[in-house]
Amino acid sequence: MTDANHTTHHARTYPRFLWYVLGRATDGSWLFYTWMFVLTAIALVGANAWAHQVVRGMAATGMSDHVSWGLYISNFTFLVGLAAGGVMMVIPAYLYGDHDMHDVVIIGELLAIAAITMALMFVVGDLGRPDRFWHLIPGIGRLHWPVSMLTWDVVVLNGYLLINLHVCGYIIYQRWLGRRPNPRWYLPFVFLSIVWAFSIHTVTAFLYSGLGGRPFWNSALLAPRFLASAFVTGPAFIVLTLQIVARVTTFRIPEGAIRHLLSIVRITVLINLFMVGSEVFTAFYTGGVHATAARYLFVGLHGHTELVPWIWTAIAFNTFAAIVVLSPPLCARRWLLNVALAMTFVGVWIEKGMGLITPGFVPSTLHELVPYHPSLTEWKVTAGVWAFGLMVFTVALKVGLHGMSRPITEEVA
């Protein structure tokens, strides 16, 4: 078969494949339609709030010149971690040849797509002038690469999105054709995605840790901490997803995959707590400028205690989760395990958001203490982006799992 033949062949079948994808994405039970309807409603509220914010200005948020990043960048940071967390399925499936994991690995890759989509939406939501986003496009804009860490983030996040779109898209397309996917066309990208997953969260940590004027972030431990907490939330979220998929679809979820992911959480949840402890010790034992933000966060400063309930909730949630996942009798109760996984997901969300972004700005660089409270607009946009991301994830799962269930009818030599 010549290349030319090959091309014409795909030019004919690919549109039909897209039609199939559209059909799968919009077909489902009443439960599916209700779920999507509710998410659409929330996404619409978010879209409307964002539109008002663009027109009236960022004064609609609770941010100020003192706390110039808030809920949006918090969620962005967390979601980059969630996207990277999916790699904890890819590594066992492809590097260690774990067959159980291999059957469901596409769920991790689809999660990466949905999480990166959300992360990028949060960045756009945080821009004062989203109409000027094209200034970031190399060639027509002026991308300040390699000096600005933010440009690295633009490059690695979009790259990670494209890699995962390619791997998932290619495999589902081949399965739709009834063919066994050719490893030559996806395996190199899978291995690239493993390295890339680490890079996205490292670069995101460097955004903050590279700023000398912000002692709270200026720590070499930030990138390792980000990775550790990402590998808590990713597997935790996937374990919950796998159980939901097992319940609402006929797709077979191997117990081995869940077991493997839990053993990862057992380690990472401890590493994460350990690293938080190390930061706390260094800050409080040393004192000085490094301690002021930490004091504000953990115990309050000059009568300001806005973040104290947040961070202690996070620590309590993460500690509770650690106790449950590490104790076999507690872990055996599936409902308790699921509660613990959900709690650590929320715990890390707080720790990386209100527990990390806000205290970087409080006290400010001139040591003024201006608190930050997210506005209603920010909560609406945040809920909207999450709802949209869950819609992307739901549709991706529907299409992906249906595709993966199709029989292989045509063996290509």
């Binding site: 879209a47 970031l136 000398g212 001139l366």
Partner: protein, 302 residues
Amino acid sequence: MAEENVTRRNALKVLGATLGAGAFARALAPLAEITQFTNLREFMQKHYRELNSDEMREVLHRLEQDTEHRYGCEVTIRDIRPQRHTQFAYALNLSVCIGCRRCVEACHQENNHDRTTHQSYIRVLEMEQGSMDMERGNTNYDHDVPAPGHFYMPVQCQQCENPPCVSVCPVEATWQETDGIVVVDYNWCIGCRYCEAACPYHARRFNWRRPEIPADEINPNQSYLSNRIRPQGVVEKCHFCLHRTREGRLPACLEACPTGARVFGNVLDADSEIRWVLENKRVFVLKEELGTRPRFFYFFDR
């Protein structure tokens, strides 16, 4: 029968998709108002450093028209370039500063700042004697000055030689000019505020909303890189009043100072007062340990 079901389902899907798209368009409808603060020509405008002189003229003319249209005030906006053999520096005598904040007010008026937030590029810290710890400083004092047992430290952009704000900008919307002044192209900034996070001196300000100024309070002598009225959603900062200083005048904050605490000039000019201060006073810079190399110096005189 089965076929009928499929057709009906497809019809419902199309209906659902249409309703969804309609609702989405409705939710985003407020975006149509964006034309109130931008237009196609502004959207397409190139980076400051890519504009040739004809294009620059056109841009300035458009900005003047926009200002008249939106603020009802006739203004002149020029593009004032740095002079050769010039390195600006600023020094501030902490012994004579009384914390009156007239510099803050002068900046507010000279630079067409937003009136509702009473914005200014300068913050004055009231410091306790015996400590250089800004933690003990207070910017919100409201009593007669100078208060006993205190000294006053005005802080504005330090025009660092190694500016972290410039490094972090993802789109090169901010840069250092040859005379040392760090400027912002307000028409190129995307409003990500990474520079605000990176600055160790709280020198940068973001336009959280469209600045409001009554027409009769607008300073009509404006320049592209300095005091023209900023658009909504972009970052701004102190520019050493470059529309004045590049033409041999002094910054507005210096002229307003009643005690002569402020000294400004070209350090390459051997006879300048700033040169004399830097050579003869025991000057220091803020947060020297960060390696930002400010060109804004402080000293005590008695």
